[in-house]
């Protein structure tokens, strides 16, 4: 654990920023260990101070629940400093220089794809067993540690706790603000894009599917579009337009528009859908394709869970002692 006094950082050494949140590369004064320091200033639109920022409370309490774990970014501490008479909160994490996206750019061979997706699924299963939905899994919120050759899930700023018990019908699911706007649109599941307010852990699995495909093909699976409707049509052009038979209630979501109905990418059989997906991800073998298609299932309640995915035939020849 570090206290505020033991960490120093240079304001010019920014590694990430989003809106007013900034991550700096810093150092622990005593040990010289590199750390990442995330600052979340309180943004009070009314000019009135209203306590600690909700995002900070969510992120820190979630990290306290999940960390330490071999596939979750190590959380060190949170502390408050005085910034022009206003409190400024900081979260201290371990520092990792490489994102999964950078790693994908260097091209991954099939055995590494298998190893990494297994690690990602283990990390996601850990989150899910602690009733945390990540909500923003993408190739930049997953970091890579070069020494241990392990991935670490980070970026819990948008995460929430999910409905308990697991595996209940949609009407029992907690509601959240629809379509997480801040999350990367390329990885958003169709229910986010359709502005569903009731979703659960299965939404993360869609994103994991997108990451899996991205690792295998070396590029983003669904290129980011400017709005949710064009993002949906991008997905439909690969996987077909979902019907009520595939996903009961799909056409009654508020985000469902006539435009989408008219698209009619009509893949009449499941085999044809698999063909279209296979064309996008030619490097995956039969088992890999089967796992991917179970992650990219339209109906959230039919999507494979992280725990089940770990037992999938695709991993049967993976040496689990070397993870």
């Amino acid at each position: 654990m570090f206290s505020g006094r033991e960490v120093e950082w240079d304001a010019s050494n920014r590694i990430w920023s989003w809106e007013k949140n900034i991550v700096y590369k810093g150092k622990c004064k005593d040990t010289g260990e590199d750390v990442a320091v995330k600052q979340i200033p309180y943004d009070s639109s009314k000019g009135k101070f209203e306590g600690i920022h909700p995002n900070l409370i969510r992120e820190v309490t979630i990290l306290r629940r999940l960390s330490p774990h071999q596939y979750i970014v190590q959380f060190h501490n949170t502390f408050c400093v005085n910034d022009n008479k206003r409190p400024l909160w900081n979260i201290v994490f371990e520092y990792l220089s490489c994102t999964l996206k950078q790693l994908i750019k260097q091209k991954l061979d099939p055995s590494n794809v298998k190893r990494l997706i297994y690690q990602i699924l283990s990390g996601v299963a850990h989150c899910h067993s602690h009733s945390v939905i990540h909500r923003n899994l993408n190739s930049e919120s997953i970091l890579f540690e070069e020494n241990s050759r392990r991935i670490k899930i980070a970026g819990f700023g948008l995460s929430r706790s999910c409905s308990i018990p697991f595996g209940v019908e949609e009407k029992f699911l907690k509601s959240y603000s629809p379509g997480v706007e801040a999350a990367d649109i390329s990885y958003q599941p169709p229910e986010f894009l359709l502005l569903s307010e009731n979703y659960s852990l299965s939404s993360d699995m869609w994103s994991v599917g997108c990451i899996f495909a991205e690792m295998a093909r070396g590029d983003v699976l669904f290129e980011a579009n400017s709005c949710s409707v064009s993002q949906l049509s991008e997905i439909f052009s690969v996987l077909g337009t979902p019907t009520e038979a595939d996903w009961a209630g799909v056409t009654s979501y508020i985000g469902w528009e006539e435009e989408l109905e008219a698209l009619d990418y009509n893949f009449t059989s499941k085999d044809l859908t698999l063909e279209a997906l296979k064309a996008k991800v030619p490097a995956l073998d039969v088992d890999g394709m089967d796992l991917l298609s179970q992650m990219l299932t339209y109906n959230p309640s039919e999507r494979i869970t992280a725990k089940k995915a770990l037992d999938h035939a695709y991993f049967k020849n993976l040496d689990k002692t070397e993870l």
Partner: protein, 207 residues
């Protein structure tokens, strides 16, 4: 810290206040988390907690839990609402109080309250409205929820004939539930001055 009668009354006052402030607009789970946070804080501190402090605590706990649980930020609670009470001074006391509570709890909030389960269980059995009970920390949340629902629905407690089958998903045993149900029965019988009515109790118990 000793759990004195004053503190007990104070705690009850806090809970009633939170339940009242939560109507309308806040989720049940938000209030439940706040109650649990208050209990955890009270069980952690060593010094006496004054009435004044309790008043600050109830605002603070509800503020923290609504920040984590609600998807629409309940700004109506601030605009001259109860939260502004703590916030109208220059020294930012809400910020100080939130920091104090979160640090005292080491940033560990109770995410899984019995509440998460009671809604689900009650809906499984009936579409009727049901009364709400208050929790204890001795049992797992799902067991308390099922027990509360069973008592609340006047299922055949004495004969242990209630069926846990609808709750298979929760993976709990009849023994776990029965221990709470019978605990309640004893307490209930005592509170009735041992004049147990022939009919079943109307309200769900306050656990």
């Amino acid at each position: 810290m000793k759990f004195t009668k004053e503190l007990k009354d104070g705690r009850r006052g806090c809970i009633n206040w939170m339940l009242k402030k939560a109507e309308p607009g806040l989720r049940d789970s938000t209030v439940f988390m706040a109650i649990h946070m208050l209990d955890k804080y009270l069980s952690t501190v060593k010094e006496e907690v004054s009435v004044d402090k309790l008043k600050k605590l109830r605002v603070t706990c509800l503020s923290i839990s609504s920040k984590t649980e609600e998807s629409n930020f309940p700004s109506h609670l601030w605009d001259d609402g109860p939260f502004s009470l703590l916030d109208n001074t220059e020294d930012m006391s809400l910020h100080k109080m939130e920091s104090e509570v979160l640090e005292k709890l080491d940033w560990e909030l109770c995410w899984i309250t019995p509440w998460e389960f009671t809604d689900y269980c009650a809906t499984k059995l009936s579409s009727k409205d049901y009364d709400k009970g208050i929790n204890t920390i001795a049992h797992s949340p799902s067991v308390i929820a099922v027990a509360a629902v069973i008592v609340g629905f006047n299922l055949k407690i004495a004969d242990m004939q209630y069926d846990l089958e609808p709750f298979n998903l929760l993976n709990i045993t009849q023994g776990q539930v029965q221990s709470i149900v019978s605990e309640y029965q004893v307490e209930h019988a005592m509170s009735q001055g041992r004049q147990r009515r022939k009919g079943r109790p109307q309200r769900a118990p306050a656990f």
